[in-house]
């Protein structure tokens, strides 16, 4: 899509920071799925069923509040090369 732009995916347990294209109308659930697609099944095992993935902005202390799952990229005001954490909700991040 023409209005896609790259963000940085910092997936829990993954050793690599990855570049993921997102669109402004992506929900956080869609962003999480897009990010997980590059890590899960290639390097990471799939998360256990019933454990949703959440998104939060990357901060120095790894303790930012998660974005609501249905919030869009535009509403979250994510910009090019912003870094987000993708983590399993029930795991300590």
């Amino acid at each position: 899509m023409a209005n896609e732009f790259p963000i940085l995916s910092r997936m829990q347990y993954d050793g690599h920071i990855r570049v993921v294209d997102v669109a402004p109308d992506f929900t956080m659930d869609q962003v999480a799925a897009a990010c997980a697609a590059y890590s899960v099944g290639t390097h990471l095992p799939p998360p256990e069923p019933g454990k949703p993935l959440r998104i939060r902005p990357t901060t120095d202390d790894d303790n930012a509040a998660p974005f609501p799952a249905d919030m869009t990229v535009a509403d979250a005001e994510l910009q090019k090369f912003d870094c987000v954490d993708i983590y399993i909700e029930s795991d300590t991040a």
Binding site: P6, D14, H16
Partner: protein, 501 residues
């Protein structure tokens, strides 16, 4: 035959200098090339190198070295060694030749700058020999690699690599351009001779030489040993420069230059040497682990050398120690997963015996790199889906070292992008050290675009993986990388699974 012993004329000849009368000194030696530190010429003239050699001696000694190195190669040229050699070991050679051959030639230019613009006549003299050394190193690498190119096209990268936009080459070229191609004469000496050559090359040359000898590759082992004997001489150019700078109140400047260069070279060096030693050399032939070599030649020797010349350990020493435990393991996992992007065939090389060795040398390896990278990879191979082991998408590349931003997987959460916004552009770095280097002089680095930046600037258009590979030379100079053993290293896991079923 000379009538005098060298010691009777050396100092007199070496220290000969002149005071120009027809042009201004600053026209011959502009400060931006010769000395941005404002140190008096009389101080530079105290430059005293520990290792002295006359031109007559140099020619004789170097001729003997070349005769030895080239004759060994000629004698072994008709053997079937390279046809029958371990494929992962051949990949280590391809990594080396592609990375190093034209880097040596580039270093010749760095020494040329010291020859032309050094204020100390003795420094100019020593750099002349260094220049000839590096010319030799470039030529001998290319000569040796050229014979292999007709056997395997991937060896053509020995000459082609530096002319491509391959990500690994961009990383090497960015580091070397920063450290030795674009600095004034004394700073080049600090960065190249002291930080790079004194600090790090012993690990590479001695360690690789031993591993090559264990692999019965005496051609390569002899080549490397021969090169390192030159290195031991011209690396010493940096020490008197540091001493003069400290004596003239420029310790902070010397420290910063050395610390920048050491980190820049370390980040690419760990890929080239660490992966070779810990993954490409077959387990039974490994002399020591990369960490053990680093402990002896860097953590002990370099730290002592810093103290001896009057400098301090870099501020980031603890980060560096942690990097020794992790950086090359991250890059091994990444390079293997993104193997079509490189010009050699990486080996997974994590069979059960290898993992046991890795765990012994790097405690915790199995709970991190094993569990969060290689277990999933192995499962895909064992289940008959090796295509799932090819990584998709792009890793984010550090805007300084140009290497994937990564750190130990698992817990705790270590991988992190350190980001700086400068003049409406965001820069991302792998560590606080690469970030610090940028902040020291952002104007110097701000223009460069990583491969990822080029995907989004329109330079790589369209930014598909297929096009990125072509842009980087994969499929152009040669085919990109495949697993060196065609996944045979995973056979024990297949067998274990079959037995369990």
């Amino acid at each position: 035959m000379p009538r005098l012993e060298r010691s009777e004329w050396y100092d007199f000849a070496r220290d000969t200098n002149w005071t120009p009368r027809y042009v201004d000194e600053q026209e011959i030696f502009p400060p931006e090339m010769s000395d941005p530190y404002g140190i008096p010429v009389s101080e530079w003239e105290t430059f005293d190198e520990p290792y002295k050699v006359s031109y007559r001696e140099y020619v004789r000694i170097q001729r003997e070295k070349d005769a030895g190195a080239y004759s060994v190669r000629t004698a072994l040229a008709h053997s079937d060694y390279y046809e029958e050699a371990d494929p992962a070991y051949l990949s280590a050679l391809k990594m080396h030749y592609g990375s190093i051959s034209l880097s040596e030639y580039a270093a010749c230019h760095a020494d040329e700058r010291m020859v032309r613009f050094g204020r100390a006549p003795s420094m100019r003299n020593m750099a002349t020999f260094g220049m000839l050394d590096e010319m030799r190193h470039g030529q001998i690498h290319l000569w040796f690699a050229h014979a292999l190119a007709k056997k395997d096209r991937q060896f053509d990268w020995a000459h082609q690599a530096h002319h491509t936009q391959n990500w690994a080459v961009v990383a090497g070229r960015h580091a070397l351009d920063d450290v030795m191609m674009t600095r004034d004469a004394p700073t080049t000496s600090l960065m190249l001779n002291f930080a790079f050559e004194t600090g790090l090359t012993n690990v590479q040359m001695i360690g690789l030489s031993r591993d090559a000898a264990n692999m019965d590759d005496y051609t390569f082992s002899n080549l490397i040993t021969s090169i390192q004997s030159d290195e031991a001489r011209h690396a010493q150019i940096g020490t008197p420069v540091i001493q003069i700078m400290i004596r003239n109140g420029k310790k902070a400047e010397a420290q910063q230059a050395v610390d920048i260069a050491f980190w820049r070279i370390w980040r690419v060096f760990a890929i080239l040497v660490g992966i070779s030693m810990d993954y490409q050399i077959p387990l039974a032939k490994r002399d020591r682990s990369f960490k053990e070599y680093m402990r002896e030649f860097v953590m002990t020797q370099y730290e002592r050398q810093l103290t001896d010349v009057g400098l301090d350990r870099p501020w980031y020493w603890d980060i560096f120690l942690d990097d020794i435990e992790n950086h090359h393991h991250c890059q091994q996992g990444g390079i293997w997963s993104w193997r079509p992007t490189v010009w050699w065939n990486p080996s997974g090389a994590v069979g059960p015996a290898e993992r046991e060795w890795l765990e012994e040398k790097y405690p915790g390896w199995n709970d991190t790199y094993g569990k969060y990278y290689w277990d999933t990879i192995i499962q895909n191979i064992v289940e008959g889906h090796p295509e799932k082991t090819l990584a998709t998408g792009m890793p984010m590349l550090c805007n300084m070292c140009q290497i994937p931003i990564s750190n130990r997987p698992g817990e705790p959460w270590k991988a992190r992008a350190y980001q700086v916004d400068y003049q409406d552009r965001r820069y991302s770095f792998c560590t606080s050290v690469c970030e610090w280097i940028f902040k020291v002089d952002p104007e110097r680095y701000k223009h460069h675009h990583s491969i990822v930046d080029r995907m989004y600037s329109g330079e790589i258009d369209p930014p598909t993986m297929e096009n990125v590979l072509l842009y980087m030379g994969s499929g152009v100079v040669s085919e990109g990388g495949k697993d060196a053993y065609d996944y045979a290293w995973a056979d024990p896991y297949r067998a274990a699974r079959s037995a369990a079923e």
